[in-house]
Symmetry: C2
Subunit: 301 residues, 2 copies
């Protein structure tokens, strides 16, 4: 099952040096989940040949503009381009008010249903579930209410061993894949474990947009396979990071290490850094398996 | 005196084919006036090495998103980059409500004064005047209240003929430049017309963003030197143009011709046109001196 994320924006606060504000596109089993939507996200999607029309779910972490100013434009373009299927949006409650006031004054009645699910940033909650994954919030520590998101694949069924099962009626496949033993009409019992192999373990991706180092959210991200974490500043600017409720590159590495993450992606880089290599090296000094969130890059999760 | 406009966006409705939504930067005597501000305008300014910080006046024609979705991001970036000088914004009254709700929920107190001047779209009005120019609104005919803008240089003073005036005390320059004759202490009279030449005639630029053909606004744009006019569709789509309250390329040419414009710039091209040559040719079949609004291009006015 495909489980990958493409970076559309890695900049903090203001767009600079060809870095766009935060946005990522998650592809899970050919369903598309947009995570944050800074200004210019629709142009970024076009640039990387990703179809905005295929997005069905949008998750907004908080109401600082570099995480949502592109949303109204994206939704408007989908409307103008004839979308009819519903769009589900998860975000802070006032986001709907911000969208509706703009639709009102442009006299826009969306051609598609917009389904809005307000997020509270008080405790980690399960906010979404479908056949492929569940989404939980991560309560982050930023200047305004902010949540990250854990996208966790669901436990999949066991896999049939094709050579062994092709003689068995298909009617029994479902039970075997569920791990159940089945009895044939002649009394013969087929043990699931003989005809199937265990499923791939479910994988998980945690997205921590804007936050300062705060151990209270560690339990929610602990053990995730991949963690995206902001690393706005070098550690020499720790005071500035604390003051603005952001994380340093060194801290991002520590967070990944402490929480037994397999792979760390850092992003949300301050506009003061024209190049990013030193941020990467600082994080890698603590946590080796780190990569930079670079516009257009796709990570297998 | 510098009087030029740079195109930042020429697309209608949705960004396509590297065309951005509407935005133009007017430079009049090294003061900068932004006209409309579609999504990605701040990125466009960066792309063309234009300094957002130098903009002091912003004019928004109407509240369709392709004309203002970039404004909140631009204003936020100026705030984050430490702007302290005031920004004057002219636009439909609800625009302020749209901005304020977003500042409120991001807990942003702008570091610079935002001075907002609501525009009514009921009749043409003088809405701004400084030493260089006046700005008048053009009441357009679109689906929601919409105004264009005429930027008209003020009558300048007569120009001193340097070789003739260098023997005259500087104290008399001002009067001579104003066209007044002056009497020297010895009784000699200096005639202004002998020592000065007429000023360059004031020039004017009319911006008609979104509108259908409507003769009611012709008197306001008549005789302007340069007219930017939308030309969303080819004339074969006249019905669609009327239905959506837009103008065809042919009509744009007729408007320029009827109103004795010197030079016409067409823009706001529908996303259905991948290339623009046929739109240009259609307009030029009626009005020869037409150019396309192309991103990054600067027109001397």
């Amino acid at each position: 099952m495909k489980f990958e994320v493409t970076i559309l924006g890695s900049s903090s606060a203001t767009p600079v040096f060809n870095r766009n504000p935060s946005a990522q596109l998650l592809n899970c089993n050919e369903k598309f989940y947009l995570i944050d939507c800074g200004e210019g996200t629709q142009q970024q999607l076009t640039k990387y040949n990703l179809k905005a029309a295929r997005i069905d779910y949008i998750f907004i972490s908080h109401l600082h503009g570099d995480h949502y100013f592109g949303l109204i434009g994206l939704l408007s373009s989908l409307h103008l381009n004839g979308r009819t299927k519903a769009m589900q949006i998860f975000g802070p409650k006032p986001l709907l008010e911000i969208l509706e006031i703009q639709f009102k004054y442009s006299d826009t009645s969306l051609r598609y249903p917009l389904e809005f699910f307000p997020i509270e940033a008080d405790e980690s909650r399960l906010i979404f579930e479908n056949q492929d994954l569940i989404v939980k919030t991560i309560v982050l520590n930023h200047r305004i209410p902010t949540t990250g998101f854990v996208f966790q694949q669901k436990q999949r069924q066991r896999k049939l061993i094709k050579e062994l099962t092709e003689e068995i009626p298909m009617a029994y496949y479902t039970a075997l894949k569920k791990g159940l033993d089945v009895e044939l009409p002649d009394g013969k019992v087929l043990k699931s474990e003989d005809y199937t192999t265990p499923p791939d373990p479910p994988r998980s991706y945690a997205y921590c947009s804007d936050t300062m180092y705060d151990e209270r959210y560690f339990p929610v991200i602990a053990g995730c396979n991949t963690l995206y974490h902001e690393a706005t500043f070098m550690h020499e600017l720790l005071d500035r990071a604390n003051e603005t409720h952001h994380t340093t590159a060194l801290q991002a590495g520590e967070i990944a290490k402490v929480n037994r993450i397999d792979k760390l992606i850092i992003g949300h880089f301050s506009s003061r850094y024209k190049t990013l290599q030193m941020l990467l090296e600082e994080t890698q000094s603590v946590f080796e398996n780190t990569e930079l969130a670079i516009e257009g890059k796709t990570f297998q999760l």
